[in-house]
Every structure is written in structure tokens, then in C-alpha cells.
């Protein structure tokens, strides 16, 4: 852990991403304690009010302005981050579990299971992820659960491919050979000997997938197929604000910035994490 932090503090980009991510997650977790205005209740007298820093700490302040029904944008952004982070991380973990298990199975067992899995990956890769997601959400109906399922569906492939490649080389290593020699069962080898060795690459893939999934989640709600109103979501805020683009730039600018900052922080941290765990690039530094 100390080594981890020491190495992190030496990488400016990684540290920046990590700190930014911690701040974003903390804001999301602490949102109910921050005494923000109700993100779902509008104030029609304050429709489309511009951002102002005057009286910042007084109760009626809207530092980032209000939307078309007078809801506070800052509060909606912070409450929206809860939903985005929850949906995206659940989807990435779910996709990660499925992808890792299938990747180990295909890599270790080889043969028919491996060929079947690889053809399945080919098929899914041939459909643009966004269209696949739209089609499935349209078929199942737009609910939080279905959005999570669809995002997980677009995510498992990347884990499966990378884990499979890892397992192909792991299974020739001595510790696996000797486990096999003393008669360990296939399941035991796969889950007690191989699994711990692929958790690190799975974690790295997961971090980078998180960034992609956050953008995709926002795109789905931008197209009206994500989390349904009145629950605030970043993509939805963008779509609603687009109508007032010429008169109220803040309605679209801030939700977009929130997405960029979140994705950037995850990417920076993820890139650093990949280099940290990759002995090849670490020694090169």
C-alpha cells in the first residue's frame, strides 16, 4: 500500500486523476448531507437563471444556474453523479465477473468452449455497441436494471479477451503444471491458482471500461433511453438543455463538463494503474 501511494505520488497525471476521482466519489456519497436544493423540485420564478456567485452561501443561490423549470443545476449534477457512478460501476463489475469467468474457462479449457466463446465475441463485435445497447434497451424497456444489464453486456468482451490471453500463458507455468501433477481438479486450478493471477489485469480493464461505460450511459440517457425522469441524469440534462442552447448555455455546458472531468479522472488513474502493474513499463521508467 505504501509502495502504491509512493509510486502514485511520483506520477503527476495519475495523482491528479486519483484525487479528482476521490473528490467526485466523495461528493456523490455525501450528496444527502450537503444541504443542496432539492434536485427534482423546480422554482418557476427562477427559470433558466444564469450562473451567479453572488450570495453563494445563501439558501436561494444557484452557482451554476437553473434549468428550464428552475431546478438547481449544481444540485442536479451532484445527485446525477450518484446515479451515473452507481449504474456504471455495477455494470463494469457485472461485466467483469462474467468476462473473467468466461475468459478463464476459454483460456484454460480451450477446445470447443474456446472456439464457441471466440465466435460469440466476433458476432457481438460486428454490431456497433451503441446500436446493440439501444436495441436491447428498447426491447426490455428503459429501467435502471436494464440499463445496467445492457452496459454489462457491452463490457464483458474486453475482459474475456484479455483474461483469455493471460490464461493461455499462465496455464503453461510451473505452479499450474505442478497443481495438475498432484491431482488438483480443473475447477480448483481455475479458481484457486489461475483466478488470483488474473485479478490485476481484470482490475485494469475494469478501470478503463468504467470510463467508456460512463460515456455510454450518458449517451443512452441523452437519447432518452436511460434512467427515466424525474431522477436527474447527466445525459438527460444535456438533452433537455439543448432546446435552450442559444439562450441558456449553462444548461448544456456544465453537465458535459461533469462527464468530461469524471471520465478524464478515471482514464488518468486507469492509465497509471496499468503502468503500475505492468513490470515492463515500470522498469523502463
Amino acid at each position: 500500500m505504501t509502495h502504491f501511494l509512493k509510486d502514485l505520488s511520483r506520477s503527476r497525471a495519475g495523482l491528479f486523476g486519483f484525487v479528482l476521482l476521490v473528490v467526485i466519489v466523495a461528493l456523490a456519497l455525501l450528496a444527502p448531507l450537503l444541504e443542496l436544493p432539492d434536485p427534482t423540485r423546480g422554482d418557476l420564478r427562477a427559470r433558466l437563471a444564469g450562473p451567479t456567485w453572488e450570495g453563494l452561501f445563501s439558501p436561494g443561490a444557484h452557482p451554476l444556474g437553473t434549468d428550464e423549470v428552475g431546478r438547481d443545476i449544481l444540485s442536479r449534477l451532484i445527485h446525477g453523479s450518484r446515479m451515473t457512478l452507481m449504474v456504471a460501476s455495477t455494470a463494469v463489475v457485472l461485466g467483469g465477473i462474467v468476462g473473467t469467468v468466461l475468459g478463464i474457462l476459454a483460456g484454460y479449457k480451450g477446445g470447443f468452449i474456446d472456439r464457441l466463446l471466440m465466435r460469440l465475441v466476433d458476432i457481438q463485435l460486428a454490431i456497433p455497441l451503441m446500436l446493440l445497447a439501444l436495441l436491447v434497451v428498447a426491447a426490455l424497456g428503459p429501467s435502471i436494471r436494464n440499463v445496467v444489464l445492457v452496459l454489462a453486456l457491452t463490457s464483458w468482451i474486453r475482459y474475456a479477451r484479455i483474461i483469455r490471453a493471460q490464461v493461455l500463458s499462465l496455464r503453461e507455468r510451473e505452479f499450474v503444471q505442478s497443481a495438475r501433477a498432484i491431482g488438483a481438479s480443473t475447477a480448483r486450478i481455475m479458481f484457486l491458482h489461475i483466478l488470483p493471477n488474473v485479478l490485476t489485469p481484470a482490475l485494469v480493464v475494469g478501470t478503463l471500461e468504467l470510463a467508456r461505460v460512463i460515456i455510454m450511459d450518458a449517451a443512452l440517457s441523452f437519447l432518452g433511453l436511460g434512467v427515466q425522469p424525474p431522477t436527474p441524469s447527466w445525459g438527460r440534462m444535456l438533452a433537455d438543455g439543448r432546446v435552450y442552447l442559444s439562450s441558456a448555455w449553462w444548461t448544456v455546458t456544465f453537465p458535459g463538463l461533469a462527464i468530461v472531468l469524471t471520465v478524464l479522472s478515471v482514464n488518468l488513474f486507469g492509465d497509471w494503474l496499468r503502468d503500475y502493474f505492468d513490470p515492463k513499463t515500470r522498469s523502463a521508467k
Partner: protein
């Protein structure tokens, strides 16, 4: 080599068949087309009659078999919305999508290659930091937001370009640039890391040691080898963009395949959804097939290993 081509061809066809199958069954979950086609309040008898006419009263497997048989001949039925052959409707949108995709790829390739090469050659200088920071931002920015921001600046505030639509070159600038930002960011990052790898190789040291000119080393030894992963990435991105950039086309009201399919999903226009996704998948699979062949040409080591 022939064996390899045949095997890849078989895999490609298998993938397309898989896509067609998935799309067939998922669209069935979307709802009953007969109930959707008739006006609200149509009698059950009317619905049943139409179901019979469309073949929807047959067992699912029979319908699937019939569907496959027609699909092989490019016949996906008649669009519910347009009342014309579904594949025809999709193909009419292909030029708009291709125009946008190819312009974006060309722009992104030029910007990305130049930026990536600069970043690799000027390692440790301020310019590398700037290029990589911009590339990171480009990758973190969702295309739909970038599109809206560009509309805000160049169309709404400055009034230089149209906010959306299709027709003239001016309409193409903003959507193409929006997509090009993402493409060039991805290519710049990939090219930089691939060049840094190659600069460490022994053959580069050899080339320098035997006194070759710097630009000879760069173009003949570094660039040529570093571009191999870029070719794959470009092909994959081309395949994706030719599939219609759903979100960008929506933001800019661009009449391409992506927007057509999302409208078809909203309207539950099954024949168009099925024809559109099948066509996209076929293009994607074909491009990947060609890339695999190109690989052998570019890298003799890969050719030898087969």
C-alpha cells in the same frame, strides 16, 4: 495462405449469421408488428388477419427459417414506415453516412498521425505534454457534448456554419470535425506508444549506427513499423463509423444510417432495423477480413507465421 483466407471467410460468414439471428429474436421482443401497424381500436379479427398475412401466426422457427431464406437474397421485407423495400431505404442512407465517416477518418488520421509522431519524437519536451493532454481530453469528451458545444460556438454565436442538416460542404464541417477529434485522439495516443516501443528496438540503433540520415531512419524504420497497429485501429474505427454514428448523426440531424435505425427502433419498424443492422455488421466484418489480409502484406513476420 489459402487455408487462412478460407477459414477467416468461414468465420466472417458465421459472425454475420449470428448477428442476423440475434437481431431477429431481439426485434420480436420489441412487440407485435401487427398490433402496431393497425390504428388503435382495430378489432381482434383485423389483427389476426394481418398476422396471417405477415406470416406472424406461424411457429417462431418457421418464421426464422423464412426470414433467413429471404435475408440471404437481401430481402428484409417492406418498411412499415416508408412502405418500400427495407434494404432500399437503408441503402439510400449509406452515402450520407459514408461521406461523414470517411471525412472524419481522413481528418482524424492526418491530425492523429502528425500529433502522435511529434509527441514520440519530442519526448520529455513541453510539446509532448500539450499534445498528450489534448488527446486525453479528446478521448474523455463525449461526442454528443462536443457536437453541441461546437454548434453553440460556430453556429449559434458566430453564425459561421449551419446548426445541422445535410447538403453542402458547410453542413459537413462540424459533424466531421466532432468525430475526427475522437479518432485523432485515439490514433495519436496509439501511435506515440507504438513509436516509443520501436525507438527502443535494436534495428533502430543499428540503422542510426550505420549512419543513415535521420529522416531515412524515421520514415523507413520507425514510421513504417509503428503504423501497423494504427492501420488496425483505423480499420476498426472506419467500421464503427460506417455503422452510423448514432449520436453524432442525431445531434447534427444528419440523415445517415445510425439516425435511420434509431428512428426505426422508436417506430418499431422491424424490417428497417433488421436490414440496417445486418448491412452494418456485413460492412464491419468485411473490413476486418480485409485488415487481416493487409496485415500479412505489411508485416512479413505475420505472413511467415501462418
Amino acid at each position: 495462405m489459402t487455408g487462412f483466407i478460407l477459414r477467416r471467410l468461414g468465420e466472417s460468414l458465421l459472425a454475420i449469421w449470428g448477428v442476423v439471428t440475434i437481431v431477429f429474436f431481439v426485434t420480436r421482443i420489441l412487440g407485435d408488428p401487427a398490433a402496431l401497424l393497425l390504428p388503435i381500436g382495430a378489432s381482434d379479427a383485423d389483427i389476426q388477419a394481418l398476422r396471417g398475412q405477415l406470416g406472424l401466426d406461424q411457429p417462431m422457427l418457421v418464421q426464422y427459417g423464412q426470414f433467413l431464406l429471404n435475408a440471404v437474397q437481401g430481402d428484409f421485407g417492406v418498411s412499415f414506415q416508408h412502405g418500400r423495400d427495407a434494404m432500399q431505404v437503408v441503402l439510400e442512407r449509406l452515402p450520407a453516412t459514408a461521406q461523414l465517416a470517411l471525412t472524419a477518418i481522413a481528418m482524424g488520421l492526418v491530425i492523429g498521425t502528425v500529433a502522435g509522431s511529434i509527441a514520440a519524437l519530442k519526448r520529455g519536451r513541453a510539446i509532448e505534454l500539450v499534445v498528450m493532454a489534448v488527446a486525453l481530453l479528446g478521448q474523455a469528451t463525449p461526442v454528443f457534448w462536443l457536437g453541441i458545444m461546437l454548434i453553440l460556438f460556430f453556429a449559434v454565436n458566430l453564425g459561421w456554419l449551419p446548426t445541422g442538416g445535410y447538403g453542402t460542404l458547410a453542413h459537413l464541417v462540424l459533424p466531421a470535425f466532432t468525430l475526427a477529434v475522437f479518432v485523432s485522439a485515439s490514433i495519436a495516443r496509439l501511435l506515440r506508444s507504438s513509436m516509443l516501443e520501436i525507438l527502443k528496438e535494436d534495428y533502430i540503433r543499428t540503422a542510426k549506427a550505420k549512419g543513415l540520415l535521420r529522416h531515412t531512419v524515421f520514415f523507413w524504420h520507425v514510421a513504417r513499423n509503428a503504423l501497423i497497429p494504427v492501420v488496425t485501429m483505423t480499420a476498426i474505427l472506419t467500421g464503427e463509423l460506417l455503422g452510423g454514428s448514432v449520436v453524432t448523426e442525431t445531434v447534427f440531424s444528419w440523415p445517415g444510417i445510425g439516425r435511420l435505425i434509431i428512428q426505426a427502433i422508436e417506430a418499431k419498424d422491424f424490417p428497417v432495423i433488421q436490414a440496417g443492422i445486418t448491412l452494418i455488421a456485413a460492412i464491419f466484418v468485411l473490413i476486418n477480413f480485409l485488415v487481416d489480409l493487409l496485415y500479412g502484406v505489411l508485416d512479413p513476420r505475420i505472413r511467415a507465421n501462418r
